[in-house]
Symmetry: C2
Subunit: 434 residues, 2 copies
């Protein structure tokens, strides 16, 4: 039996150094748990001359990917360099060289996961990516192993820490989106260019990965309807608060009658729902299974050491499979035909905020329109708006289809008494866990 | 490769029928995921004549355990009969017959887990028990696989649904313990004899199992300091509410400097802590790891189908190991020397409610006593008590050792100005996730 497993690391940034540190600090425990030593032998870096904390046994640094990928001693390639095309090329190369791969790269797995898993299986290699969703939270393993016997019906996730931090600050400190974003940037919770986070794209990538595993369909990024949090007004958070809701950027994935709907959008959650209590930069994934009911996995969604934990857990899973001679058999390749639920069959409750002309009969005519569309109201708030002669109306509907709701909004736009539709959001979690 | 795996079921109650139903309903998916068929072949029942819903292929019913345990076709014994001595005997018998075992029996695993795991490993058999803690929540697998690379420092669990339901009702509906217990019994959330739940014993068993896995020490039931919820007064919940706390029956396990402390006790939690939001009959286990930081696993802690999910996941793990020829290698037998943290090194904040004589200088003398013991206060509330000439004083201390706190309470008892110590509770979760 092999007594030594060697790692080649692609990238030596925040996560890469966490992985090296963790393997070094836990050398003895790892060796005891696995019955063999794990060593980082070769590291691909951008600049060899940069000052770094290196472990005692001094792994070799190189700027040439081929040196790592072709090193015959390397058993496992750990990709933590980020980016897409180069990482994809290196991982294919590694797998073709019969090296197992562990990656934390959600962008890559969201776009090319299915293709890379197929290459891995053809080469009898493992390809694991637990760190790509939810940082240190073992949620992919929860889905694939823990809930393996169940049929997953719904996955809802707060899977982007930056936007959750911003929304928490807006809600608790009553500051604008711009102010909250600035604070998040100062604290290192948001990047200098925050586009991918605040527009919902990062969350969409993670939802593609999660729903592929949950539903065994080859979900692509384009299948995820995505909107971000840049337009959220403090006023809506305040009305939400009055209604007992809190705003979260939610990745929503649901399978019903064999077809799936996946979206990322700002959503009002009932305060009693477990996801409503997930604050600041924390992440959580809420899973509904036919048999198990409702479960939730909570934890830090990012950070050097949490992410490194997930990478090292993957490394340990590969090492176990190597020792058992069963590598390449755990790659879950989505196998079912994909069908996307049309808007006519996507049902939800909605919150709508309208500005209407403040005169007799206006509310009656709006009510009539919703009534004609068979949409009834669960809650209504009416207030004088800040501008003269306008009233602000907040409606929370009962369940209706997205298609019906959108047609209703279009017809509403044409009504003479309507000044503007200020905002509308999906409402979730109302009946659950209460 | 084996194309058929046969299950022998010991017990056909709520969980047993859930398991049979789940295997029947998911026959095709299981076969697809595993590459082999799984069938329940033989069931030990108490009464063969009782009317039951049986699956189409009609498993054989028997009242003789030996018929199931000695059936040469059976690969896996699933023990869902409950109880201790008989179940233990049957499981030993099964393992010695080289049959793998899956059990949902927390009482048995808490008492004899280590012994049975050793028998399993000697016989190259798997012994899994995911369903014994947290029902359908895959928390044991989260600990053993997901967080395998981390050093676990702390495990805090709401691991008993009955008591959590009662405390939620007391808190939200302002009803007494007796009323809440009665309601729970009527709704089926509490048993006719609720002693094991409300005295904390059920939670203690689960904490023994969890901390054994988290810390790799052979934790026994006697190592868990246990107190229940029968004495909790509504008044304390109300003061807690004012202070921003909510009361939970918490299983607390912590490892520091190589020694462990484990307890089950009613504890005040800051409302912002994720465990504070776990309501009604739900369970959650909060895990703090050196690298991963704080994670939480949430879900239904009991129920036929959730528990069956965990049992079937275990069955699938066994089948995979069988197909791979690696059974008996995943049994985690606690191997480190056990050291229990003495009260001098158990640190916490405490809430104390006192009745004192309402006259000048009393509060000064109480303060002096705490000051002499180097215990400072974080919060103080003073009120006239309902009885004449008494004042009610609520103190929340900063961190102090349990030993020091207890000596202080003893000296307090002797003070002339003290009428009585009404209650005291540990306070947790104050600085976290804020």
């Amino acid at each position: 039996m092999q007594k030594q497993v060697s790692i080649g690391l692609l990238g030596f940034g925040v996560v890469g150094s966490g992985v090296v540190k963790m393997i070094e600090n836990h050398r003895e425990e790892l060796s005891q748990k696995l019955g063999c030593d794990v060593t980082v032998k070769h590291i691909l870096v951008r600049d060899k001359e940069k000052q770094r904390d290196l472990p005692l046994h001094s792994p070799k640094l190189t700027t040439d990917p081929a040196e790592v990928l072709n090193d015959p001693d390397i058993d496992i390639i750990v990709e933590v360099m980020g980016g897409i095309e180069e990482a994809r090329k290196h991982i294919r190369h590694a797998l073709q060289n019969k090296k197992h791969v562990v990656t934390a790269n959600k962008d890559l797995i969201a776009l090319h996961g299915q293709e890379l898993l197929e290459v891995a299986s053809e080469n009898h290699c493992d390809l694991f990516y637990e760190a790509s969703v939810g940082g240190g939270i073992p949620v992919l393993r929860g889905l694939t192993d823990g809930l393996i016997s169940d049929r997953i019906q719904e996955v809802m996730g707060i899977v982007n820490g930056t936007t959750n931090y911003i929304l928490t600050k807006m809600d608790e400190d009553h500051v604008s989106f711009d102010k909250a974003l600035g604070d998040a940037q100062n604290l290192g919770f948001a990047e200098a260019d925050p586009t991918a986070d605040i527009e919902g794209l990062d969350a969409a990538r993670k939802m593609a990965i999660l729903s592929r595993l949950a539903f065994s369909m080859n979900v692509e990024l384009d299948d995820v309807e995505t909107s971000g949090i840049t337009d959220i007004a403090l006023k809506d958070l305040e009305y939400g608060n009055q209604l007992g809701y809190v705003m979260k950027l939610i990745g929503f994935a649901k399978k019903e009658n064999g077809s799936i709907e996946i979206s990322v959008q700002p959503t009002f959650f009932d305060k009693k729902h477990p996801l409503a209590g997930v604050k600041n930069e924390y992440n959580a994934v809420y899973i509904k299974g036919e048999a198990v009911g409702e479960t939730m996995f909570y934890g830090p969604g990012a950070g050097s050491m949490p992410t490194a934990t997930a990478v090292v857990s993957d490394i340990m899973a590969v090492v176990k499979n190597m020792l058992l001679g069963i590598t390449g058999k755990s790659n879950l390749i989505a196998g079912l035909d994909k069908e996307i639920t049309p808007d006519e069959r996507r049902f939800a409750k909605f919150y709508v905020r309208l500005h209407v002309k403040d005169k007799a009969g206006v509310f009656a005519s709006i009510s009539q329109l919703f009534h004609d569309k068979e949409i009834s109201f669960e809650r209504i708030i009416q207030r004088p708006a800040s501008k003269n002669q306008l009233a602000e109306v907040i409606l929370v509907t009962h369940q209706t289809s997205l298609a019906n709701f959108q047609t209703t909004l279009e017809q509403l736009q044409e009504m003479e008494s309507l000044e503007s539709i200020q905002s509308y959001y999906r409402v979730e979690g109302v009946e659950k866990n209460d």
